[in-house]
């Protein structure tokens, strides 16, 4: 009892000891914040990666793919049908994207993915990342009339404005075609003319309806006439629909400063849904030929993983197979490069991967889980978290030495009291208990306050980042870099418990040596101590 009373009194009267646990407090708070933010980032990233990729991907080693997706899917079902929720075939091929902004053609390498609009949404969160609410419900490669989001629906209405998106859609496409036709009629003699440049408003330029139809010498594609040409001759009809990675067609632009001094951005679109772009990709077969065509953007894909947002383009799989010559003309059996597999909840992806890989020859097929696909990135983040944790825990350990030193001081200062207690019959264990209880109390207090502070910081992290940004004049968390609008922080109770327990343990451990010293103190010498 006296142990508790005395350690409580020491806690209340020795403020110097409180100073020594400030570092424990800060260490605990920092660890909680760092872990929460890292956990948030990792979770967000994993979610995104997982949302983009299906649970398990079954691929051929060649981009020319394998024959007969249906046969393969049946085979996979035979092997592990009861673990699989859905499957969809895809064709993935590298491609070159071209579109015209102002007078300039922009060329970008992209990853062109042929997807089955019916089943794609079943294997991943694909639909979730689209910009038209109806497309999020059911994807269609038909251009919508209007109604695209004018802000990032994942980040909420307070995110960067996307004013141009208000115009996007079929109506925009018609108006553009109208004005082009009108301009052509005004500026060129009837008959033939080079494709006029439409007056580009709002930073977005409208590519001519069919730049390849005209005799435009600057046009690198003019030598080959697209099959699409006649379909959308007038510009009223759409070409094959295309979902474009949002970072391929837009960029954020600073439009001023907010009241608090942090820069304010707006998304500027170089192309909008309704505009046409040109894609060139290799055909299947030996040697590969370049196939190209005009496509109409029907939506933007925004996964917030900049790696994907700046490279993915999606089009209907059947059309891609046709254009690449992947369909056997006689049997109509098409080739695909990969099958995306969605697992039932609770199924172990790696086990399924191994099972499938055992059945399909690894020379021809690669089976991987989504984690495998991004293992380097995920491992890097994990490593980073681990190292940060070690460093921060060392800080707390250093705080432990502070506690040790101050405890020694207090034990020396309390020498006489220790002698008195022993003369009153307190045992060495009892005296030790006082200081251990004191260490425990300090540890609990320090890490408790640290936990509170840490959790508060996590809860207020975005506000704090804003304030810091305002003070330093530079945003701490730049959404342009991370593609998140706010810092994702997830508190993992398990981690928090560990951190707090670790800090308390360090405080107690640090008090063990001084406590032993106090316990060993000779009562007479302690009483004689001045």
């Amino acid at each position: 009892m006296y142990k508790l009373l005395l350690s409580w009194r020491y806690l209340r009267t020795r403020y110097i000891a409180l100073a020594s646990i400030v570092s424990v407090t800060l260490g605990v708070a920092t660890m909680i914040v760092v872990n929460s933010v890292m956990h948030g980032f990792t979770t967000e990233m994993r979610n995104r990666i997982h949302g983009i990729l299906s649970d398990v991907v079954f691929e051929s080693r060649t981009i020319d793919g394998f024959r007969d997706a249906q046969w393969h899917m049946d085979r996979i079902s035979q092997i592990a049908g009861n673990e699989i929720a859905a499957m969809t075939p895809t064709v993935v091929v590298p491609a070159m994207l071209n579109f015209e902004v102002g007078d300039q053609w922009i060329t970008k390498p992209v990853q062109l993915i042929g997807i089955d609009p019916e089943t794609q949404g079943k294997v991943s969160d694909f639909g979730h990342y689209l910009q038209h609410p109806a497309n999020r419900e059911t994807l269609s490669f038909e251009l919508r009339e209007r109604g695209y989001d004018t802000y990032d629906h994942q980040a909420g209405p307070n995110s960067r404005p996307r004013k141009q998106m208000a115009f996007a859609g079929m109506g925009y496409r018609r108006r553009m075609a109208e004005s082009r036709r009108f301009l052509a009629a005004m500026t060129a003699p009837p008959g033939q003319a080079s494709a006029p440049k439409a007056g580009a408003g709002e930073g977005a330029s409208i590519p001519p309806a069919d730049p390849f139809a005209g005799v435009n010498l600057a046009d690198p594609f003019s030598q080959k006439k697209s099959e699409e040409g006649e379909a959308a001759d007038s510009g009223y009809e759409q070409h094959t629909g295309l979902v474009m990675g949002i970072a391929l067609g837009s960029f954020p632009q600073q439009i001023g400063k907010k009241k608090d001094g942090t820069p304010e951005y707006e998304d500027v679109f170089m192309v909008l849904p309704g505009d046409d772009v040109k894609l060139t990709f290799p055909t299947a077969g030996m040697p590969p030929q370049a196939a190209s065509g005009l496509f109409t953007i029907v939506d933007f894909y925004e996964s917030k993983m900049s790696e994907y947002d700046s490279s993915f383009m999606f089009m209907p799989i059947r059309k891609l197979q046709e254009m690449r010559g992947m369909i056997d003309p006689t049997t109509q059996v098409a080739m695909v490069n990969s099958i995306q597999i969605k697992l039932k909840p609770g199924v172990d992806g790696s086990a399924l991967r191994d099972k499938l890989q055992a059945e399909f020859h690894p020379e021809l097929y690669v089976v991987s889980t989504w984690q495998d696909k991004q293992s380097a990135l995920l491992a890097a983040v994990q490593m980073e978290t681990a190292i940060l944790n070690i460093l921060l825990f060392l800080i707390i350990a250093v705080a432990g030495f502070g506690i040790l030193a101050i405890f020694f001081m207090i034990v020396v200062e309390k020498t006489r009291d220790i002698g008195i207690l022993k003369s009153l019959g307190a045992s060495g264990w009892g005296v030790m208990g006082i200081f251990l209880a004191y260490g425990l109390a300090l540890g609990l207090l320090g890490s408790g306050v640290g936990m509170g502070l840490g959790l508060w910081l996590v809860a207020q992290i975005n506000w704090i980042a804003d304030v810091l940004g305002r003070i330093t004049g530079r945003p701490v968390f730049d959404p342009e870099i991370y593609y998140f609008y706010k810092i994702p922080a997830i508190v993992d109770p398990f981690t928090v418990t560990w951190i707090v327990c670790g800090a308390v343990a360090i405080a107690v451990l640090a008090s063990v040596l001084p406590a032993i010293r106090a316990a060993r103190m000779h009562p007479v010498e302690a009483l004689r101590y001045e």
Binding site: M1, Y2, L4, L6, Y10, K422, H522, P523
Partner: protein, 321 residues
């Protein structure tokens, strides 16, 4: 006021003990007194015979007769002394050296003494003669290099640490020149300290009210009833010493060891303290061993012994009967 003086009646329930393990932390007060009778004869007699004349007897059997001395408060001092009260505390040939590097400083060179129950013994001597050292040995705060110490006929100097702690907690009360109150605690808490040490948390919490009453009663007795919540630094020297006495008494000790209790006090407060000690000695039959400088104080004791260079001066004043 007399029941304020004996807040605890010794607990007679317990198992018989045959060894010095007697002062185990669990052993209730009073138990060892019962058992002491079993040790009559044998060892004790032999030891007595070994001693030369003038060396006090460490008579365990006598201790047995003094069973529950606080209960016969009605017996007056004269009767008590006529019955030749038993020896309560007894030291045989105590030696204590301090080693300073290669130099051995002999502080006590064979001190033998015995204290009878209810006696008030004064130890006088020059500064540095080893009075405090002797008192610490008697209080089992330190172990002698040679010699034996008996408490109620039980040898206590070689007890294990925890048993000595329990002995100090239950049967010995100590007061010091510099009061030695714990500065973080209030007066009441300081007085409660021995009880807190003796009880575990649960026992203390359960009996909290009663224990606090005991402590408050003692503070009342020493005239500090109005100072319960004060910190020691808010008290005068005399008040602090009175609080220290209350603390020493709260566990109903059998003997009070005082190291210059008035050494740091002015004359008036010193006399108050002495009066208090005398009252305790007379009313409670509390055995008191008191170290002092002051011959006038020593005179008031039943008996005075003088330490000279680590040895008892031969022909120290006899007990004043």
């Amino acid at each position: 006021m007399s029941d304020g003086l004996s807040p605890f009646q010794p607990d007679s329930a317990g198992r018989p003990m045959h060894s010095p393990l007697h002062f185990s932390p669990e052993a209730p007060a009073g138990q060892m007194l019962e058992d002491a009778s079993e040790r009559e004869g044998g060892l004790d007699r032999r030891r007595r015979e070994r001693r030369g004349p003038g060396v006090p007897a460490c008579d365990g059997s006598a201790a047995a007769r003094g069973l529950f001395p606080r209960e016969d408060a009605g017996v007056d001092a004269g009767v008590h002394l006529r019955r030749d009260p038993p020896v309560q505390l007894c030291a045989v040939d105590l030696k204590k050296n301090y080693q300073k590097g290669p130099v051995v400083i002999p502080v006590l060179r064979g001190v033998s003494l015995s204290v009878r129950e209810g006696e008030m013994l004064a130890i006088v001597g020059k500064s540095g003669s080893g009075k405090s050292t002797l008192l610490h040995l008697l209080a089992t705060l330190d172990a002698p290099d040679a010699g034996e110490i008996y408490f109620d006929g039980q040898r206590v100097d070689h007890l294990a640490g925890l048993e000595r702690d329990a002995l100090r907690n239950r049967y010995l009360g100590m007061i010091f020149q510099f009061y030695h109150l714990l500065p973080e605690l209030t007066t009441l808490e300081n007085v409660l300290m021995p009880l807190m040490i003796g009880e575990n948390v649960w026992g203390y919490v359960r009996r909290r009210r009663q224990l606090r009453q005991t402590a408050a009663g003692l503070l009342e007795m020493v005239g500090l009833g109005h100072r319960l919540r004060h910190r020691p630094r808010e008290l005068s020297g005399g008040e602090m010493q009175r609080a220290a006495i209350a603390r020493a008494l709260v566990g109903s000790p059998r003997i009070l060891l005082a190291d210059e209790p008035t050494g740091n006090l002015d004359f008036a407060s010193g006399r108050e303290i002495l009066e208090l000690l005398h009252r305790l000695n007379a009313e409670r039959k509390l055995t008191i061993v008191m170290v002092t400088h002051d011959p006038s104080i020593a005179e008031q004791a039943d008996r005075t012994i003088r330490l000279v260079e680590g040895q008892l001066e031969p022909g120290a004043g006899p007990a004043r009967l």
